[in-house]
């Protein structure tokens, strides 16, 4: 049985940990003091890179690498903390904000020191009223204690934090959409490049980090890189010669919801399998697992054939899915996949910001097609034209079969792929919202096609058994690239021979 490994959440349940005094008793701000006393800013940035910390917001981009893109000669630079946690199925940042906001402030302080930043904006999701209240109180306390403001603890650093509530748009969790919203404009993502690291808030270099990423910093500084890299796994990236290390180190706040007995946030080392995770969350509620969404609603779905997939950034990328924000939704045999997709598509059609053409008009179209299928009005044609193939006599000819064509399923896949192509991983949109729409649409359809066909054939939603509903891996293109990555140590051994 896998045990929780609480680091970020270690003191979450301590009464009044949200106050400065209690936080201070639990090593609070000592890591920041250590950072200032023992390390130069550049050393800290290198440490974060060496620790292999990957951004926890969704993209899983190496934090140290991102910091290296920020030009240190342009003033001012900004830190923007993304607390606009809006991916359906994700709820981990919220607990940090509500229960332990000083941890976030300490992370921000370390980042500001490492990057020479004086101003931080925390963009909080508008619905997190309690979280914002707690954070604001904590910021006030930190100012009073001299950890924020001018000349922090007599170190000569000036660090200010401003918290800013969002107004409830999903797209404002996208980093450039967030920046636009923060600047007081309509929350619409920007074209990239330039990336925020070069031109971000007010067109100045900006580090945009998720709450969870920043909360990892105190522990990397406090316990050292070596301690941190022992958690999780480090894979080898064999595309490079010699193979490069691809770290998936540290812990992750997995938000488990759906058909499990004890849903909630679990802090676990990166790289556990789906099966292990369901076990941690009190086991499955129901008979068998039908599907698992591994990283928030925009991630491609995993079938019961893929439950051995490790839930870390690299493994899920290779499984043609993503860890994203770590919002894991488990579905049992009673769930209808068409219905699930409709639910998700309604959300995305509502949240499309409307800036660029494919997403503005493609997303509601995809929703309408799924709606039509769910309403039992999906189109199906039985084609009576001869189907060519090898006949019983072993020659080419009419096999006597008729072909059934589900026009709406082809249309659904085609329209979704026109917004963003999931096979080539290219999108015609400005931001990755496009792929967040087409990823679920195409993966649900390809992996659970029998259920979609049943809905059209029977003119109503039909929930098939797990075995019937799922397309086996060997028959489906959607699984094709899936293989289990080798750990870096193993690869190094074989290459050294």
């Amino acid at each position: 049985m896998v045990q929780e490994k609480r680091i970020l959440y270690e003191h979450l349940d301590v009464p009044n940990i949200n106050t400065f005094d209690v936080f201070r008793q639990h090593e609070g701000y000592t890591r920041f003091e250590k950072a200032i006393a023992e390390f130069q800013p550049e050393e800290l940035a290198q440490m974060v890179w060496d620790a292999g910390l990957k951004g926890r917001g969704g993209a899983g981009f190496s934090t140290g690498e991102k910091w290296s893109f920020v030009p240190r000669d342009i003033e001012p630079r900004y830190l923007c903390c993304n607390a606009d946690e809006s991916e359906p199925g994700t709820f981990s940042n919220r607990y940090v904000l509500e229960k332990n906001p000083h941890l976030l402030i300490e992370g921000i302080l370390i980042c500001c020191y490492a990057m020479g930043i004086e101003t931080t904006y925390v963009y909080i999701r508008g619905e997190f009223t309690l979280g914002k209240k707690m954070l604001d109180a904590a910021i006030k306390e930190a100012y009073e204690q001299g950890y924020l403001g001018e000349n922090v603890r007599d170190t000569g650093l000036n660090i200010n934090i401003y918290s800013h509530p969002g107004a409830g748009a999903y797209i404002c969790g996208e980093e450039t959409g967030l920046i636009e919203s923060l600047e007081g404009k309509r929350g619409q993502p920007r074209n990239k490049p330039p990336f925020p690291a070069v031109q971000g808030v007010f067109m100045k270099p900006t580090v945009v980090q998720n709450v969870e990423t920043l909360c990892n910093l105190p522990f990397i500084v406090g316990n050292g890189v070596e301690w941190y890299t022992q958690m999780g796994r480090t894979y080898g990236d064999t595309r490079f010669d010699p193979p490069k290390a691809d770290p998936n180190t540290g812990t992750k706040l997995y938000c488990i919801s759906g058909d499990v007995n004890e849903p909630g946030v679990y802090e676990l080392e990166l790289g556990l399998t789906c099966t292990e995770l369901i076990e941690v969350a009190g086991g499955l509620r129901g008979e068998e697992v039908k599907a698992v969404i591994p990283g928030g609603s925009s991630a491609p779905i995993l079938t019961h054939y893929e439950l051995d997939t490790r839930l870390d950034f690299t493994s899920l990328t290779l499984a043609k899915s993503m860890l994203g924000s770590g919002g894991i939704i488990v579905m049992n045999e009673t769930r209808n996949i068409v219905d699930c997709l409709l639910n998700i598509m309604k959300f995305y059609a509502h949240e499309s910001c409307g800036q660029c053409t494919p997403c503005r008009w493609g997303t509601p179209w995809v929703r309408d097609i799924v709606q039509r299928i769910a309403d039992g009005e999906g189109r199906q044609t039985t084609i009576t034209r001869p189907k060519f193939g090898v006949t019983e006599s072993g020659r080419w000819g009419d096999t006597g079969e008729t072909e059934e064509i589900y026009e709406d399923l082809d249309l659904l896949e085609n329209v979704a792929n026109n917004i963003a192509n999931v096979d080539t991983m290219t999108w015609n949109t400005i931001c990755v919202f496009g792929i967040a729409v087409s990823w679920p649409a195409v993966s649900y359809l390809r992996k659970f096609r029998p259920e979609f066909e049943a809905a059209i054939r029977d003119s109503k939603l039909v929930t098939l058994s797990v075995a019937e509903a799922t397309v086996p891996p060997e028959e489906n293109y959607a699984y094709q690239q899936r293989f289990i990555p080798k750990e870096f140590a193993e690869i190094q051994e074989t290459t050294e021979d």
Binding site: A169, Q355, T357, W365, V415, M425
Partner: protein, 551 residues
């Protein structure tokens, strides 16, 4: 300069040129909607996707291939690269606009654009000059796969001259960016979200407008709208674009001298649209100029000469009017005649007038009937000048070009007029009111000859009125306030027996024994270029469509 490979062409372009412009120079179309050369580039229509080439990650160094993602041609700018970053050792960029991926992407985007479009081309004003129509025809599907209900946002009245057919809108935001960046007035914005995006003006909760789109540059949003969403009320349902003739000309509304295209049919002018000129008006013009053409089509236009009989003006024949004038002019001393040129007339008109005064009437004191001052409007990227005459600078120079000529303006002129017996006044400014001093001076004149296009304050006082022509009915040149000499061209025929101002003056000169003999305006321009200082290059041939800047 950047050396790039565009499709199979090897071309050199300026640093910072984007692919849409680089391709346009080569005659290659990269379809686009949101991109406009005069505005910022949000790249939101995604129509101009092109395929850039670059090093392939993970492949051996020097391997060039198409990038994983297509890039928008409007934001993809090329500039000279350092030697180590050249592609294939010589190119600064390699871009394809015709690869299968690009062609498919265009088809896909067009399909999305047409999903909610009403396809009401038969009743749409834009049909015929619509980018959505043209690009659909050239790059799109022939069938729609969309079965669902289309969005039907309401039609909106945005301002004095602009209507918004929201159903046709493709939300390219050109109009919003125009109001933010060029006019700086920011009346337009987006409301709602996603597929319900609509362009709108600020409104109260009840829907009553708080601010209308009524700045003096508002008409430009109709021009830049790539589809038929923004429509000019002035032009609504008047004509199909393909029925109209188009002629390049210059706006006569003020001394900026915006380059325009005059669109007309045999029965008059229909529309004036701005034409790009980098140093004068860029892509824009103001609504005063745009909508100020109506007087050309007016039914009140002077068609025959008028003669005052018993204090009433009545029509007469050219021969009669000219004889009457010749008689009067030959009777008076040269000091008793004042010839007044016009800042509304072309350089050619004024030059012939000046020759007539100097050579035939032997008078050196000429007047300039200008001073039509309005309000100056300054916008972040555009200025409407206070001087409402198109040719003040030109008229001043040309009238004073001959030896000893003095050009009188303002009080000095009206003093002189008050003491004169015969005044020959070329006006052409139909809306110009007369001040009291001017009226008094003109009333004292024994015999007042006025050349004008419409009945006006000065024609009322005249003894003989000669029908002249507007900017739309003659050839010639205007000199704007910044010293650009630009051509206006004849579009429609003048009404009735009206004639170009220089032709009238020339006939008078001939009757008085003068030796002025020009056949067309270009000939006068050559004479100007030979005789007037600074106008050496300003022949019609040199001026062309872009103008000549004076030294």
């Amino acid at each position: 300069m950047a050396f790039i490979k565009l499709n199979d062409l090897e071309i050199e372009v300026e640093d910072g040129t984007n692919i849409v412009e680089a391709a346009r120079e080569q005659g290659i179309e990269v379809p686009h909607y949101c991109y406009h050369a005069g505005l910022s580039r949000p790249a939101n229509c995604r129509m101009c996707l092109v395929e850039p080439y670059g090093p392939i990650p993970g492949a051996p160094p020097g391997t060039i291939g198409p990038a994983r993602q297509l890039a928008t041609g409007c934001t993809l700018t090329v500039r000279s690269a350092p030697p180590e970053r050249k592609l294939e050792d010589k190119y600064d960029a390699i871009v394809r606009t015709d690869s299968p991926r690009v062609i498919k992407a265009r088809e896909d985007i067009l399909e999305f654009l047409l999903v909610h479009h009403p396809l009401d081309c038969p009743v749409c004003d834009q049909a015929g000059e619509c980018d959505l129509q043209d690009f659909s025809y050239r790059h799109g599907h022939d069938k729609s796969r969309y079965l669902e209900v289309k969005n039907v946002p309401p039609k909106k009245d945005l301002g004095p001259d602009v209507l918004l057919y929201s159903t046709r809108c493709i939300v390219c935001t050109r109009c919003i960016r125009f109001c933010d960046e060029v006019s700086g007035s920011g009346e337009l914005g987006l409301i709602n979200r996603g597929s319900h995006d609509e362009i709108d003006i600020p409104r109260s909760h009840e829907g009553t407008p708080i601010q209308l789109l009524d700045n003096k540059l508002a008409g430009n949003v109709v021009d830049i709208c790539p589809v038929g969403a923004l429509i000019s009320k002035d032009f609504l349902f008047k004509s199909r674009p393909w029925f109209m003739e188009k002629t390049n000309s210059v706006c006569s509304g003020c001394s900026v001298g915006c380059n325009v295209t005059v669109e007309y049919k045999a029965d008059g002018l229909y529309r004036i649209k701005p034409r790009f000129h980098e140093d004068i008006n860029q892509h824009w013009m103001c609504d005063d100029g745009r909508l100020g053409y109506h007087y050309v089509n007016s039914d009140d236009r002077l068609q025959l000469p008028l003669k005052k009989v018993d204090d009433e003006l009545s029509t007469t024949q050219w021969a009669d009017a000219l004889t009457l004038i010749t008689e009067k002019l030959s009777e008076v001393e040269e000091n008793d005649v004042v010839v007044i040129g016009s800042a509304q007339a072309t350089n050619e008109d004024n030059f012939v007038l000046q020759q007539f005064a100097h050579d035939v009437l032997k008078t050196t004191q000429l007047g300039l009937f200008g001073q039509q001052l309005g309000e100056e409007h300054k916008y972040p990227q555009f200025t409407i000048e206070a001087d409402k005459n198109p040719n003040t600078a030109g008229a001043r120079t040309i009238l004073g070009s001959a030896n000893g000529n003095v050009v009188l303006e303002g009080e000095a002129l009206w003093e002189k007029v008050a003491g004169a017996k015969v005044v020959y006044l070329v006006s052409g400014a139909p809306d110009r009111p007369l001040e009291d001093a001017e009226r008094e001076a003109l009333e004292k004149v024994e015999f007042l000859i006025v050349q004008d296009v419409l009945p006006s304050a000065v024609t009322e006082l005249a003894d003989v009125v000669l029908p002249g022509t507007t900017f739309a009915e003659k050839d010639g040149t205007f000199t704007n306030s910044t010293g650009w000499v630009q051509r206006i061209r004849k579009t429609v025929d003048p009404p009735g027996e009206a004639q170009a101002d220089w032709e009238i003056t020339q006939q008078l000169a001939k009757r008085l024994g003068g030796e002025i003999d020009y056949h067309f305006a270009g000939e006068i321009a050559i004479a100007i270029s030979e005789n007037v200082e600074g106008y050496g290059d300003a022949t019609h041939q040199n001026i062309g469509d872009t103008g000549v800047k004076l030294d």
